[in-house]
Symmetry: C2
DNA sequence: CTGTTAATTTATCGACCGATAAATTTAAAC
DNA sequence: GTTTAAATTTATCGGTCGATAAATTAACAG
């Protein structure tokens, strides 16, 4: 892997000049856009097109969606692969919120609360049809940025979850063991799969996402404490019993 | 969805006649194969090719891998889509083991043991590069057989897990609530994601699959019993009872 | 060996793909 | 209004795709 990626690289629209002539507003009758705006439109529409049909979707269809002709693409991107790379960056890099890094490590709050806040926010960002489909498409394609992101999840999220759990449980601090990391993957993958079912399989999921997360965290934290051999105050406030949406059971 | 699927439809090689002239063995110098054998080879190679490159992989590349020319494909399949459908059937239908259906419902054994046996066997069958990649490719494509399979998982596996858990925990029998099913999805998705990491992301996973499953089941069963409000004998290697915060509040 | 059947190949079609070059048109500068 | 730069379109190329028709050739029956 000889590519380098950086989270939140403000790579947005900093090409020719996105702020000179009062930045033309998106009038529908506008026949020409500023290069920055046009480029932005290409990336945006390409993201949703590739998300739906995969990266084999044609450049002509993309141009048609933008109301322009196909060769225009090549004034803004040297090749289709370059466009794809821009889409990658937009999807993978620009959605990571820096505060997530601190969120999990804030020991002034109980871990149960931190995890709930984190996964609520994190899934708000990535349980998005475009994001999750492009994530899997790029994974199937073996894109290096996908493997890079997986390692980010492991170091920035899962390792930290285990570390913070161990701390709150009064266990000695240490590098998380492989089996512990695997348990964190169980939680993370289980939550992630909620998004897969919703956006890839188009399958019905429990409507209230935050409730699904809350129950998942309860099960995980309760369960992990017995497996690890030490209990931790975990339960969130209300839920005493899992039940249907209207609580009838 | 106007298609119908059936698990374990012995759809293997029952086309023209797969058993007449002593069924030619796969000699490398053989220039012509029996139609049944040729068709079988097409499906097999197509499975691995589509698994690697997606269903957009070309028919010429497929033929090349078989050492034949591309138009020959069309003597065995009316169209590429028909070939893809055959691959679907092979991957989705022929791998389901009928005994799995009973495995989960055998109340003469504790649920912990049943779940371990089931997931060991189930993942032996589906944590296969071809299977899991075609599963996701077809999901992204919106193939009806994929949606059908998801519903099979829900009715044949997840619903049963909840029912059996409730039974063993002494809870009243009832249709699993949506939130309960969602928790079963958490376990199932978490385990499934192990295969995704391994075969889609090509990411390192805990070597001993059965240990990952064992830990996952410990966490799940211990956790769910505190969330459901009733404990169940779960641990594989008998350990003390967890200090479940006794869900009554 | 001869004749027949069918498995396989050769040749090719029309559609679509990503990409390039040249012509055109818009918009802003003067 | 004229000029000028560049955004956009028109035209087109070589390659690949799925698919069809016709020619070939291997295998078997007699």
């Amino acid at each position: 892997m000889d590519e380098e990626f950086k989270l939140n690289s403000i790579a947005a629209a900093d090409w020719p000049a996105a702020d000179e002539p009062a930045e033309q507003e998106a009038s529908s009758k506008q026949r020409r856009l500023s290069p920055a705006q046009r480029r932005e439109d290409f990336i945006r529409k390409a993201t949703s097109l590739f998300a739906e049909e995969g990266f084999d979707a044609g450049t002509r269809e993309l141009a048609r969606k933008l109301g322009v002709t196909q060769p225009l693409l090549y004034r803004y991107f040297p090749s289709k692969d370059d466009l794809i790379r821009e889409v990658y960056k937009r999807v993978y890099l620009d959605r990571w919120q820096p505060e997530w890094d601190d969120m999990l490590g804030d020991r002034s709050r109980p871990i149960r609360e931190r995890l709930q806040h984190f996964y609520d926010a994190y899934t708000d960002a990535i349980f998005d049809r475009d994001w999750i489909r492009i994530y899997l498409f790029s994974g199937l394609k073996g894109a290096s940025i996908n493997k890079w992101y997986v390692s980010i999840v492991e170091t920035r999220i899962l390792t930290r979850i285990i570390e913070e759990y161990r701390h709150e449980a009064g266990l000695p601090a240490q590098e998380p063991a492989a089996a512990e990391l695997e348990l964190a993957w169980l939680l993370h993958g289980g939550i992630f799969y909620y998004g897969v079912r919703k956006h890839i399989y188009d399958s019905p999921v429990l409507e209230q996402k935050n409730r699904a997360i809350s129950n998942a965290l309860d099960v995980f934290l309760e369960g992990i404490s017995s497996v690890f051999g030490t209990a931790v105050k975990t339960r969130s406030t209300a839920i005493r019993k899992v039940s249907g949406p209207d609580g009838q059971d």
